[in-house]
Symmetry: C2
Subunit: 337 residues, 2 copies
Amino acid sequence: MRILLDVMGGDLPSRELVKGGIAAGRRRGVDVVFAGDAHEIESAFSDAGVHAGGQFDLLPCTETITMDDPPVKAVREKKDSSLVLGLSALKDGTVDAFVSPGNTGAVVAGSIFIVDRIPGIPRPGILASLPTLTGEDILVIDVGANSDCTPEQLDHFALMGASYARDVLGIDEPTTGLLNIGAERGKGNRLIADTFTQLEAGPLAFAGNVEAHHLLIDRPVDVVVCDGFVGNVFLKAVEGGISAVTSLLKRTIRGRVLAMAGALLMSGSFARVRKSLSYRKRGGAPLLGVNGVVVIAHGRSDAVAIESAIDVACREVEVGLIDRLSQGMSGWGDHGS
Amino acid sequence: MRILLDVMGGDLPSRELVKGGIAAGRRRGVDVVFAGDAHEIESAFSDAGVHAGGQFDLLPCTETITMDDPPVKAVREKKDSSLVLGLSALKDGTVDAFVSPGNTGAVVAGSIFIVDRIPGIPRPGILASLPTLTGEDILVIDVGANSDCTPEQLDHFALMGASYARDVLGIDEPTTGLLNIGAERGKGNRLIADTFTQLEAGPLAFAGNVEAHHLLIDRPVDVVVCDGFVGNVFLKAVEGGISAVTSLLKRTIRGRVLAMAGALLMSGSFARVRKSLSYRKRGGAPLLGVNGVVVIAHGRSDAVAIESAIDVACREVEVGLIDRLSQGMSGWGDHGS
């Protein structure tokens, strides 16, 4: 198995990302190709005692797509960027998966233009896996690839999310739910009402509406379906709520001797909580619906997050998710278009 | 000043809500009329040593609109409910404000049918006030009255939110922002793109896009504008994130002696954090755009939350918000329709 890692365009220096790629490659015994500035990659290789050409190789490129670049324009114009060269390698079959912490919009646009979509799925969706209090993750799709969606697209997200839950996570008969602002049928906007009818008639185990405040507590379903605008607001709001509590707690403790002593005694517990809710350890969100394994890592990814994003990519390749998705689009019901 | 409190339809018994109403009335020196089951209200009165007819009175009714009732149907059919009778009293001018912890959809529908809207505002919006780490609240409108919105409606929400910030909270030149999934112009869905252009051309101090994870931390603007579906998902996601952290922390501590000792030492800090982020103390969300002061309290409101919801209603009446909104719709620019 050969994974391509785009080491440009993330927030951290490529040296840090190469470190994560080498660690993942060694641990999993997979090849990793690093796309980026040749000089920086070689220097990171030499730090790690790695020689280019064997298990670890490099794909040199001279251009970088930044976080601020307009996605479609960047993909069209920056032909010698790690993102475009990397996705081209995926298209050609010289690598089995593409992992990038870069500009999300550019990864989505590049994947559609260069790798193309699975037949029957006009719009790919980004799948996020979030920790919950039950100990099991909950999947949410789409969290940002599509800001305006149709019921058909949400239906595809449900099918792809359920396929991922079944084929990659081994959940027997995954349940799906619609992210809505009330549990009762008929609540919410037109998109949700129309999608509800469609999912109800479809082949999946559809559990109806689910509400945002339950997801991380009760994990009411395996897969939550929403449009990319709502999904992205949901993710960031959860992140904001968590940051607010932890910041406030830190600030409240500061300068209070007893409280600080208390915090010291509790530090093990804090570390466990941080770890359970860590998005850093879950460095990769699969882009489902394109005709190749594409995993989007967080822009702030460090070596640990990159390692975890490569893990996500490897699991998808191992189970042959793309083939299963292609079959699933016809196999799970008449949901191709 | 005379406030009507709907003591039916909330999650807690009306006795608890009457307690909050009496406390608020005594503290603020305002009259409170309680709409609900006469027997229950009289029994709560006698517990509190109150005689009906003076500062505290009752409006007896025989029907209750429950949380599960379909809003429009309930308002049309349950003519003798506390919600319908209460809103009719507001319409007639026998009370100055209506406060209810009941079915949000029914309060919105009833307000539109019975009290009607301020001319030029076809859709009212619910305004939430959230605590932030800066110590100042941030306002978000709409958090649930409208699931499908037009740019014109979002424009009205911005104007009403800004008027509330200025006229009720005394913020000199309130800034507004659009809740979006990226900071750059052009991000997001069509509704946001169109609203951006409209707000930019409008009379308000428009600061552009704001993202969900910043709101409670940095408070980037005074007023955040969004459609009611997205706003409601945002609120519930924040609530979910906060609950997840606090539950996880509690669970992690349990059974660990040192951590429990630590938590004990920190308990003052925990209490301060809980208080800062308490939604219970902020019991009321104004429904802006109807031609009378309507405040929606949380369904789970207890006496403290009801007191706070009545405070919100009193402040709106004191500054004459309805008149200011009516003038504002023409005064702040050509935003009537």
